[in-house]
């Protein structure tokens, strides 16, 4: 049986990827962000999960509003990284896990989550902006980056075009993903990841809005009282965390996939310019896996 051993919440600001790829992680303005990922990377290196299951969103890169799925699961054995208009990232293609993804599709649809399925679509920075900070690419003997420590199963969530799935629906999706993972016949260790947030708004005159007090409260509720977050409406998230900050419903999907007994091992919060960038690591108690 497959087990979920932990969960990660992470911002997916594209600049994180850009600074990483340019090797500017040590600059004083960026070190507090990149240092904040190291304990998470060490934990992943120690626990060696087989799969990172991402709840992320596409930013109109692989998909467009002419056909816009609410939830979409990627089932390909491999994914390219989307060229979002400034060239591809210097990173190897991302390995998928078709067997687990097929099982998830079959179980989730049977569990009344009628997912869209995608193949051969490149993944957006919503998934891979923080990926090399969590899982540094593997390097072959000749020094070339040739892969990743494990596979990624991507679940894309519409957080761009209203009506978006509600916080409650994302929470329930996470719970259904947990049931589905736990019924997988193979022996796999899975870590769930929710990306996005925290507070930010990047459109209209309200651009630049942040709310650190709310961000802290959100992180506290995420750990101890996620059902309160699930009961909130999008307009509440927009008011408290900014219009684009409402994407934190994807963190709630991650939390829904975890059990009741979790331990927060690490948290980092860095608000530099426009988006409050956070990373959080939860570990499952062994007894409930």
């Amino acid at each position: 049986m497959a087990t979920i051993i932990g969960g990660i919440g992470s911002s997916h600001v594209p600049t994180i990827g850009l600074i990483h790829d340019k090797g500017r992680q040590h600059e004083p303005a960026w070190a507090p962000l990149f240092e904040g990922y190291k304990p998470v990377a060490r934990w992943l290196e120690e626990k060696k999960p087989d799969v990172l299951l991402f709840f992320y969103n596409d930013h109109a890169n692989s998909i467009f509003f002419d056909f816009y799925p609410t939830f979409a699961l990627g089932v390909s054995p491999s994914f390219e990284l989307a060229d979002e208009g400034a060239g591809s990232r210097p990173l190897p293609p991302i390995r998928g896990h078709s067997e687990l993804a097929i099982h998830l599709a079959e179980q989730l649809v049977n569990d009344e989550f009628d997912l869209t399925i995608f193949q051969d679509r490149p993944l957006d920075h919503g998934c891979h902006s923080p990926l090399p900070l969590l899982w540094p690419p593997t390097v072959a003997a000749d020094g070339v980056q040739d892969g990743w420590p494990g596979a990624v199963v991507p679940i894309q969530v519409n957080v761009l075009q209203y009506p978006m799935p509600t916080a409650a629906r994302c929470w329930k999706l996470g719970q259904a993903v947990r049931r589905a993972v736990q019924s997988f016949p193979g022996d796999l260790k899975v870590v769930v990841v929710g990306t996005g947030g925290l507070s930010h708004q990047i459109h209209g005159e309200r651009t630049g809005f942040n709310n650190t007090e709310w961000d802290m409260q959100f992180l506290e509720l995420l750990e101890h009282d996620p059902e309160r977050l699930a009961a909130m409406r999008h307009v509440d998230y927009v008011r408290l965390g900014g219009a684009e900050g409402a994407e934190v419903v994807m963190w709630l999907a991650m939390r829904g996939a975890l059990g009741e007994r979790i331990r927060k091992l690490h948290q980092n919060y860095y608000l530099a310019t426009t988006t409050a960038m956070a990373v959080v690591l939860f570990e499952e108690s062994e007894a409930q896996r």
């Binding site: 600049t15 990047i202 309200r206 927009v238 310019t273």
Partner: protein, 119 residues
């Protein structure tokens, strides 16, 4: 009315991208979306009028694009995540777009930020 968004009209300076907006502004959103591909970027740089025509933009839409009126485009119904692809073509940073939407210069906007060097 989307029950999840009741009361959003009281949050100033915020333009939820919903289906009414998406239907009305599909063509101009597609025009910007296409700029993720090199052939569309090259066409826009070489001959903007032809690029606008091929995208089927109205005169009002062309005027907003030509004026680089970031706030006007958002209020018209352009989604920020396709709009930023236009900023890449013009070599304008997102921080500059943010400042413009607030009606500020980049320097003044950065003065309001905790770590202005993080860019």
């Amino acid at each position: 009315m989307n029950p999840q968004l009741e009361g959003i009209e009281h949050i100033a300076g915020t333009y939820p991208f919903d289906l009414r907006t998406s239907i009305r502004a599909l063509r101009i959103n597609r025009f910007f979306w296409n700029l993720a591909r090199k052939e569309h970027r090259d066409e826009l740089v070489a001959d903007p009028d032809q690029a606008f025509r091929r995208a089927g933009l109205s005169d009002a839409e062309c005027a907003l694009v030509r004026a680089r009126d970031w706030l006007g485009l958002i209020r018209y119904g352009v989604n920020f995540f396709v709009l930023e692809k236009y900023a890449r073509v013009l070599r304008v940073s997102n921080l500059e777009v943010y400042a413009a939407m607030r009606g500020e210069s980049l320097d003044d906007f950065l003065k309001t930020r905790r770590v202005p060097d993080a860019r």
